[in-house]
């Protein structure tokens, strides 16, 4: 199968004031990839995602999604994108039904179809009884489920997930991971950003490691292993981001507790 490019980023630079958060990123992403997008806090992960989503537009460089420059047509491609943000500020005074049907309709879905779809999806996540409850009264996991449904309801082709598992119970995590695998098989592209390395290691078929606004590693898990001689992704992460002192710090922390 010929690999189809869905996202291409060329010399992407971005600064907040004088601080450069992205220092010229180049990326090509193909259809059906699950990309583990990782890096320490402040590496520029969220900024990249926000640029791709059109939330931030004062960047330098070129971003193409489905072959189109996103500054040329900033609207059409959004129909094919889904997003679960990390810290979700949402209109939680609305009920789950109101919120989801609003979003679905903006994506151009028919209200009649949406009704059944929302009910079904919420039922599958076993939160059907909360359909007409205000989101503000939901637990963290329930809210997360609503966000996940909201990001997928229009059956998008590219997905951006930022810590999508936070708050989900173990069963829902299993369901969600299966959903990811099934979506990728259908040819969807998934951008998966997380700090939990075990999950990223398992889920992704390509890992991109960002540090200080630069890509420091890009490849499959096996590629990365070859690069660094280390065992797990966690170890690779530590090595590539130049962090080795964790053991010393932990020891000192504990001994301070004991008052030594």
């Amino acid at each position: 199968m010929e690999k189809e490019m869905v996202v291409s980023i060329k010399d992407l630079e971005m600064s907040y004031g004088t601080k450069k958060v992205l220092k010229g990123i180049n990326l090509e992403i193909y259809k059906g990839e699950i990309i583990g997008y990782i890096g320490p806090n402040g590496a520029g992960k969220s900024t990249t995602v926000k640029i791709l989503l059109g939330i931030i537009n004062e960047y330098k460089g070129e971003v193409r999604i489905f072959g189109e420059d996103i500054t040329k047509d900033s609207v059409t491609y959004k129909n094919r994108i889904g997003y679960v943000p990390e810290t979700a500020e949402i209109f939680d005074n609305l009920t789950a039904y109101e919120y989801l049907s609003f979003i679905g309709e903006v994506y151009g879905l028919d209200l009649e179809d949406l009704e059944g779809k929302i009910k079904k999806l919420m039922g599958l996540f076993s939160i059907e009884e909360a359909l007409h409850g205000r989101i503000s009264s939901f637990s963290k996991g329930m809210k997360q489920k609503v966000l996940i449904i909201a990001s997928l309801i229009h059956n998008p082709d590219i997905l951006f997930f930022d810590e999508p598992l936070s708050g989900l119970d173990a069963n829902s995590v299993m369901i969600f991971k299966e959903i990811l695998a099934a979506l990728a098989k259908q040819g969807k592209t998934i951008f998966y950003s997380s700090h939990i390395m075990e999950v990223v290691e398992k889920i992704s078929n390509r890992i991109i490691l960002l540090n200080n606004g630069d890509i420091v590693a890009d490849g499959t898990f096996d590629d990365l292993k070859k690069m660094s001689m280390e065992g797990s992704l966690q170890d690779i992460f530590n090595e590539l981001t130049g962090f080795k002192k964790y053991k010393e710090i932990a020891d000192e922390f504990v001994s301070t507790l004991q008052g030594v």
Partner: protein, 561 residues
Amino acid sequence: MKDFRTLKILDLFKFIFLKFGVDYPIMRKILQIKLTMDERRVPTVLMSNNDMKDENAFNKSLLMYLLMGFVFMLFIFIPFPIFYKMNIIIAMILFLATSVMVADYSSVLLDIKEKNILLPKPIDYKTLNTARIIHVFIYLFTIILTIATPTLVAGSFRFGFFFGGIFLVQLLFIASLIIFLTSLLYFLILYFFNGERLKDIINYFQIGLSVVMIVIYQLVGQIFQVFNLNVVYEVKWWNYFIPTTWFAAPYSYLIEGRKEIHYLYFTILSIIVPVIMLVLYFKVVSPYFEGVLQKLHSNSEDKNSHSIKAKKRQQKIASFFTTNKMESIFFRFTHNMVASERTLKLKLYPSLAFATILPLLFIFRFLTVSGSFSESYEILRSGNYFLYLYFAVIMMSNAIPLLSTSEKHRAVWLYKILPIEDINSIYKGSLKGYLLKYILPVYCFVTIPFILIYGVKIIFDILIVAIVLVLLMLIIFHYSDRPLPFSQDFQYIKHNNISILFQTMMFCGVTAGIHWLLVSSNFTRIPYGILLCIALIIFWKRMFASKITIEQGNKAENIIK
């Protein structure tokens, strides 16, 4: 950390707390932390003015209460029996203090966040709950004392220090009565209903109170006239249920020396009821209060939005008034948002209510001021006083900047990731939804008394004023940088207010002036009406003439970040 004077006073009552099984040293520490945090909290009202940051907003509000207290004090000097005066004064204090309690301190009483922080530590329910009650009590009592101080001083001069003594003790009882009653009420509501319902009830209570407050301010002048009736007091059975009569009775009994037995009963009630409340609270409610508070977090069905049928109807209405699908979506979105956002409602409803009441107040004043009722009614009828509607227009135009605000304004990242071709659809949909659901129905309501007085012949004039209202709102919206709906913090309104208010008044003055000229010279208003109509249509078209995406709408963009 600072040691507060209030806490030192509290130390005097340490034995009471110990008696109820409260861990006093821990409670004192919690209170100290709370008071420290309160000192640092910058109230939202003052956040825009950086130079005012250091001033304590609480002290500022006390100044306002003191002023109100001076008004209440005046009742001491009216030549009524003391029973009546104290009834009125205590009623005002009770009312004001309850409204402050519900409006400003409900959140303190119902705070569940602190519980998550404090309860994992070795602190028991009772201590935590007592700390919370005392925290509220400190503020409430300070407020009550401030309101009452003018009366306390004036009364003591007039009736001797005995009066002052009784009054002071009563204030303590009043404060506890209010706190225990509200928490008891909250407890019961939470026990039988869910948290969302309680929040709704508090919300409507707040809205109601702020409306009543506005009306009271307007009517203070009238009150003295209304009370100028011949008053002879006869005790009725239901008087036993009115707290103000309990608290007013001791003055009759002890100071005026009226020894009727019901005064004694009232006096006893005024002591017994708060004490019963106190015991009831600590023995029955306090141990379970934290338990039911958990309900505030539980999810629950929202009955109002449950009916799919209602949604269908809403959808029909929306598609009738809108020209494309995106508009219709935002038409409904606006309905749902305004209907469910409590903070927004708390700002919107009182200003709409005031718009309804203001013209009525003018009529009311008109009817009570001069001569006999029928005479002044004739004058009213033969005049053109329906032009008072322009005052309602001024008040209602305040509602338009509110459309851009929300407690959840940070959620507008959503607008950016959604495939919205033209943000004009957002504007159009939500403006139409807002005007049709909230503004125009209220306007129709305002006009009812005028139609009753002047008959249907003023219908066309009413239409003209309605067009002026809509036009004014669109102008305000257009020239205030057209923020996206629900995209702003409530601060936004403060920044805009003064200049907009001034321009609004000018606009209303001019349009009302033209209208008045036409009416009083008996000239036909039809051409003027048509002219306004055309102006409205042209303005609407011009406003949304060029297509803008979210990215292009650079003004909107600065707002979203």
